[in-house]
Amino acid sequence: MPQDPQLRSHGHALRTPLLALGIGLAVLVLGLATAGYPPLPALAALWRGALGSPDAILSALLPRAIPLILIGLGIGLAFRAGAFNIGAEGQFYAGAIAATWVGLALGTWPRLVAVPTVLLAGFAAGLAWAAVPALLRVRFGVLEVISTLLLNFVAEALVSWMVLGPLQESKHTYPQSDPLPWAARLPQFPGSRLHLGLLVALCLALALWLFGRRTLAGFQLRAVGLSPAAARVMGGVRPERFFAAALLVSGAFAGLAGASEVSGTTFALFQNLSPGFGFTGIAVALLARLHPLGIVATGLLFAGLEAGAGAMQRDAGVPAVAVYVVEAVVILTIVLADPAARRAGAAATDPASR
């Protein structure tokens, strides 16, 4: 029976990610041991921070997973179309700025309207932020890899200006915005920091899964990523449209993540709002082999890892940034083990194929 290819090799599907994760953790343990940290207490702290208590799960792991899942979904879509969006970090900030701005202005609106408006503002801002590299690529042939990367730094400078300038809190002492009014805040589950953004992320994951599995456009998008030339000549599609659309949507998802973070978790904008969500999102997407439902799982996993790393720094003195190394090792293992991911890049860096 003909099958959706995503399901074709189910047996293998889990092996590579597990291997990658195993190697990543092994490298962490090895690194800890060489640096002179006793690995066991550090790992115990990691476990406590991630899954040690209901509170850790509800207030650390799950809230952390929301932006990772949203960003991972967008990056997964972009990579699938062959668009290497390395700028989710900047798109996240664009969304966070827009959401803060809109949220602060909507204090008097009913919550049922204000919250969707805030999220929509983030979505639109992320999309607009990604429109620059999309345009530069389609019109001028500038590699989206370079332009998305550079825009990350622009976004960071923009946030810095916002929280010291137009959006600085009313007393003008701290580099952060005023807290969002209640009406602009995503509802939280009682007694925890888990907010409704999780539901949004799960719904979007489901929608993207259906899109890729059941629609012609979703299938054509994948074909464009595999071979823009064949998709154009044999499939009669315009690769640059899919490419640009995937880039825009992935930017929008990252922007939505920024909005949900401000509106659901921090309630304010400040510098370093993102501890590198945009880059972790790449690992999240790749570890799930770009599969939307898999991204939910890997998003949770990396959220656990990062929540645990925070605990590790508090309790065992291990620098939390070490977790980046684990992520890097996971990404490298995946690209090494997965021939499809290995092949992917040629099309994306080829200006002639736009």
């Binding site: 003909p2 959706d4 064949a230 000549v233 002639a352």
Partner: protein, 489 residues
């Protein structure tokens, strides 16, 4: 018989489950042109790639000047005085002639010294070529000349030529074969790999026939007759060409006026001026030397490129079979079902309102396997797992699935063996018989004359219709147009 310069004994090579060479023997004598004849897939190229160190044999021995050698890589082959000209151009188009030769020979790439060295080499070989010209801007004939110079640059005594005329128009091919004979007179022994009987008979001293990885016969060229060689190549008597059914020619379905199409970024000439019509039910052959605008013309008709000037009216549906199977005709990683779905777009019954019914598409893909005799385990298998001939069958099946009124085919037989080639020609004729207009480009003029009802020639971007019944000579000369004169020197 003169002493053997190069001897290959009992060479075996296996690729996965197919045995490319089953203990082949071959020897090249000093000062001879030795044709290695066989169909596509007989193992000719593999055998010579082994002699050049590009492929390592699974078994057998190689002797040069009577001494056993192991040729690990092309560099080692060069040191033994072996040079090779590949089936496709292997120059770096943005490098000059001199730089390309320096690269192949391992010479330092700088300045006047190099230029003089290249000039001397070209003169000694009797193949004059401007050292400062960019390789990518040379005509096909001159580019092939560069390939030979590259092969000779390391003082080669043994020259391996892999289908050297397949990239050349007829008259340049003749010129080139003359050059090979001159090289023999200068003491270079040559292996000429070819699947063209006439070519082997015309220039070779000896002919070895390879079939399915085995040497069938070796002998002096004078004593061979075309019929026996053909039988040796194919194993059975060659099939007679199918009787041509000429369909009733119908209405005009392609109408192009005053077309001008810019050349592709890669450096084709493009189309400067073309006006023509094609009617339903006829097969029209597009004759052109590589890079004379056929690519651009077919793509414009397929709606993939926009003309700079003029009008195109095409009555759809249109199907296009691109030359490069693996990069444009299909996506190797995708299954046959998926390739079918991609090729049919939103018009297909399984793509109602943009939602896909995979089981329905899979069933149809299964039916096509049977209808088009595609040998595959099933429609779920990835396209890249199929043999070249079966891939092409699948591409044609997908093209026909659109029930085209216009079928455009750009060298649809590239890399196929004789039987698969004949089958493709048959499919094209049948499509016309069923009422489609077929416009096909083939690099081989003889084949094109066999397949097509009439011929359009493209030369230097101009489209010149040939009168009905125009001969090979007239067409060949028209194809050369102005570009040919530059290469004739």
């Amino acid at each position: 018989m003169p002493a053997a310069l190069l001897t290959l004994t009992a060479i075996r090579k296996r690729y996965g489950s197919t045995e490319a060479l089953k203990g082949a023997d071959f020897s090249l004598a000093r000062g001879e042109i030795h044709a290695l004849l066989g169909e596509n897939g007989a193992g000719k190229s593999t055998l010579m790639k082994i002699a050049f160190g590009l492929v390592q044999p699974d078994g057998g021995r190689i002797l040069v000047d009577g001494a056993e050698v192991i040729i690990r890589n092309p560099l080692a082959a060069r040191r033994l005085g072996i040079g090779m000209v590949h089936q496709h151009f292997t120059d770096i188009p943005v490098f000059t002639v001199a730089e390309n030769i320096a690269l192949a020979a391992g010479w330092p790439p700088s300045g006047r010294g190099l230029r003089d060295r290249v000039r001397r080499l070209a003169e000694e070989a009797g193949l004059p070529l401007d050292p400062d010209a960019l390789a990518g801007e040379l005509s096909a004939g001159l580019r092939q000349r560069l390939e030979v110079l590259k092969a000779l640059a390391g003082h080669a005594r043994i020259l391996l030529l892999d289908e050297p005329t397949s990239v050349l128009p007829p008259s340049e091919a003749d010129t080139f074969l003359g050059l090979v004979q001159r090289l023999r007179d200068r003491g270079v022994a040559t292996v000429l790999i070819t699947h063209k009987l006439q070519e082997a008979l015309a220039v070779a001293d000896r002919i070895t026939v390879l079939r399915a990885g085995e040497v069938i016969q070796t002998g002096a060229a004078q004593s061979e007759r075309p019929e026996t060689l053909a039988t040796a190549m194919l194993g059975t008597a060659p099939a007679r060409p199918a009787p041509r059914i000429r369909a009733a020619v119908g209405e005009v379905v392609i109408n192009a006026r005053d077309l001008a199409i810019p050349g592709a970024a890669g450096g084709g000439t493009g189309i400067r001026n073309a006006s023509f019509q094609v009617r339903a039910g006829e097969v029209v052959g597009l004759a052109a030397v590589e890079g004379n605008g056929q690519r651009e013309l077919l793509r414009a008709l397929a709606g993939l490129a926009r003309p700079a000037r003029g009008t195109i009216q095409v009555t759809g549906p249109v199907s296009f079979i691109p030359e490069d199977r693996t990069s444009e005709g299909q996506i190797g990683e995708l299954s046959l079902t998926e390739n079918l779905v991609l090729s049919q777009g939103r018009a297909a019954p399984w793509a109602q309102h943009g939602w896909l019914d995979w089981p329905a598409a899979g069933r149809r893909a299964g039916e096509l396997l049977e209808r088009f005799d595609i040998r595959a385990p099933g429609p779920d298998v990835a396209a890249e797992r199929l043999s070249g001939g079966n891939q092409q069958r699948q591409i044609i099946a997908n093209a026909m699935e659109r029930r085209p009124r216009v079928l455009l085919a750009e060298n649809p037989v590239r890399g196929l063996d004789l039987r698969a080639t004949a089958e493709v020609y048959d499919r094209l004729r049948r499509a016309a018989a069923e009422g489609a207009a077929v416009l096909v480009h083939l690099p081989d003029l003889d084949d094109l004359l066999d397949v097509a009802d009439r011929i359009l020639v493209l030369a230097a971007g101009e489209l010149i219709p040939m009168p009905e019944g125009a001969g090979r000579d007239l067409i060949g000369r028209t194809m050369l147009g102005t570009r040919g004169q530059a290469a004739a020197g």
